[in-house]
């Protein structure tokens, strides 16, 4: 009971902190350079319009996963071994997953609650953020094919390294709130 109350208060404090940071930033901008307020408001509207539809679909997909994906299924098929091969597989899965981190976070959160390890999650997020199918043409256009190939190799290597780096902290992370 006490733990539930503490977690509730922690979440409320976190939500409040975000709105306080936003309020302070808006006030600072209004004082320092009020001309930046309108463009940033328009940028926010653009971002909401771009991201909101996918975020909505992602949350509804996460809701379905929450109901159907049992811990047994996740442990049997999706909990990868904490070794180089396991981290390579999970990093490649991340690289192949389209969308922004924003959009995939609700789904990964459900997998975490069903037993996906912190180290595998970190490796997946490394792959998902560093490379993406939608960004491939842009990266090749701006940086060239050889640089793109180098970055794919780098992304896989970093996925494995970050997975191993997260291993010693797994117990500490699993002991925190939201787990």
């Amino acid at each position: 009971m006490e733990r539930t109350v503490k977690r509730g208060l922690g979440e409320i404090a976190f939500d409040m902190a975000i709105f306080i940071i936003l309020a302070v930033s808006v006030i600072y901008t209004a004082v320092a350079d009020p001309t930046k307020l309108k463009p940033s408001f328009l940028l926010t509207l653009d971002s909401v319009r771009d991201i909101m539809p996918t975020l909505l679909l992602s949350v509804f997909l996460a809701g379905l996963a929450d109901v159907w994906l049992t811990r047994e299924i996740v442990e049997r098929y999706l909990v990868f071994r904490s070794n180089a091969k396991g981290f390579i597989i999970v990093t490649l899965a991340g690289i192949a997953t389209p969308g922004t981190l924003f959009e995939v976070l609700p789904f990964i959160a459900i997998l975490r609650r069903r037993g996906l390890k912190a180290s595998s999650t970190v490796a997946f997020m490394t792959g998902q953020t560093l490379m993406g199918p939608m960004r491939t043409p842009l990266e090749i256009k701006y940086m060239g094919l050889s640089y793109y190939v180098f970055r794919v190799g780098l992304a896989v290597l970093l996925g494995v390294i970050t997975g191993f780096m997260a291993l010693p902290f797994e117990r500490w992370v699993e002991g925190g709130p939201n787990n």
Binding site: D50, L57, T100, L101, L154, L158, A166, G176
Partner: protein
């Protein structure tokens, strides 16, 4: 509507239809869980986007170039890692900035660190949602590990990319 969104809409719709056919109760539960998650996430999502947009009007590519133009080596990679941290906006905006930096004389290590930093940390938008869904401990560890990995990426690019 773009193709990827349409494909995702069809996929989610088909999965819900299939789930409804299998078990109506579970599908209703999935819907109510989704709505509860949305209620929790949407205010943070809007606040995070508003903050990121505000930051974007303050941090321009010219500011980034001022700090990185013509620099290479370990110190440049370190500065690039920190700059990548604060460059907001969608991930694809970093490529024109990266070519601009290369043409300004920045080293490939520093440019790689900026690209990886902006993409890997996804600050500040995703960080707020990440803390909300995964907890503060997970986000702290991922951020520290990511910063180390970005620095390493810059170093490897400086040493091995020709």
């Amino acid at each position: 509507m773009d193709l990827s969104l349409l494909a995702m809409l069809l996929l989610v719709g088909a999965l819900y239809a299939f789930s409804y056919k299998l078990e109506r109760g579970k599908t209703r539960l999935a819907l109510s869980k989704s709505i509860r998650m949305l209620i929790g996430v949407i205010p943070i999502f809007l606040a995070a986007l508003a903050f990121a947009s505000l930051l974007q009007t303050w941090v321009s590519s010219e500011i980034v170039a001022t700090y990185l133009g013509g620099r290479s080596g370990l110190w440049a990679i370190f500065i690039a890692t920190m700059l990548g941290f604060i460059i907001p906006g969608p991930r694809y905006i970093i490529y024109p900035i990266a070519t601009f930096l290369l043409s300004s004389g920045a080293g490939i290590g520093a440019v790689t660190a900026v690209i990886c930093g902006q993409q890997m940390l996804d600050m500040p938008e995703a960080a707020f949602i990440e803390i909300k869904l995964f907890g503060l401990r997970f986000s702290i560890i991922r951020t520290i590990i990511s910063v180390a990995a970005i620095f390493l990426a810059g170093l490897l690019a400086e040493l091995f990319y020709r």
